[in-house]
């Protein structure tokens, strides 16, 4: 069902746009601390960049650049990051999801909570990204 889009203008423009979309997605994830954004929004933008490559560059090229099995791995890794950010503080003396007890040696106190929120947002972004690309790949798969 997905073939390479015939017009070379579309192919070139999409190839140029995809890294900028990913960069903007990273900006949205990191900027969740200061304005609108955060993990969910950035994850969706990352998934959009992969979907654009699947639609415009065709199946062979896009599957070589980002294989479908990698999406499931990344989604699981994102979930694992979030759950580990909850369980590791229990091992070092705090409560579940208490970021002040994360074992990062050179920060402590309020900056450590800042880092904890950032780690958790990265986990959320990876989980959302992997889930969306996985569902998209299953929907357009042919037998």
């Amino acid at each position: 069902m997905i073939g390479r889009y015939e017009s070379p203008i579309v192919q070139v423009v999409c190839s140029v746009l995809i890294p900028f979309i990913q960069l903007f997605a990273l900006y949205v994830i990191m900027h969740g601390h200061y304005g609108p954004g955060g993990g969910f929004q950035g994850g969706v933008l990352l998934a959009v960049s992969i979907m654009l490559s699947r639609l415009c560059l065709g199946k062979e090229v896009s599957h070589r650049k980002f294989p479908p099995k990698l999406a499931m791995v990344l989604a699981s890794v994102g979930m694992l990051i979030y759950v580990l950010a909850g369980l590791v503080p229990m091992a070092t003396g705090g409560a579940f999801l208490d970021y002040a007890y994360l074992p990062i040696p050179w920060v402590s106190g309020a900056p450590l909570r800042y880092l904890g929120i950032l780690i958790v947002e990265m986990g959320i972004a990876l989980a959302v990204f992997g889930t969306l690309v996985l569902v998209f790949d299953k929907l357009v798969e042919e037998r």
């Binding site: 601390h33 309020a110 800042y114 959320i124 889930t131 569902v135």
Partner: protein, 90 residues
């Protein structure tokens, strides 16, 4: 017995609407949520977490457990979709 379902659903709907009428109105300054909970988050979120965005601090630090449940729901919904679509395709 199937004709019982619609009256039971209507009764349940009426019961729920009656129960929600006891909640305080939206934005009420005398509600317990705006008297005890909101000032705590607004005053203490910057010195606790050093993030200027109070919404992110509440979502990811004070109520991080709910966000964990939400991410789990997204992940499980994606897996369920994949399982259903796999059976049809190959």
């Amino acid at each position: 017995m199937k004709w019982l379902t619609i009256p039971i659903m209507v009764l349940f709907l009426a019961w729920m609407l009656y129960a929600t009428s006891g909640l305080p109105s939206r934005g009420d300054p005398q509600a317990p949520a705006s008297v005890y909970v909101s000032p705590f988050y607004i005053e203490r979120s910057f010195e606790d977490t050093e993030t200027p965005n109070i919404v992110t601090a509440v979502l990811a630090d004070y109520r991080g457990y709910d966000t964990l449940g939400e991410t789990m729901v997204i992940f499980t919904a994606g897996l369920a979709c994949v399982l259903i679509l796999m059976r049809k395709g190959s």
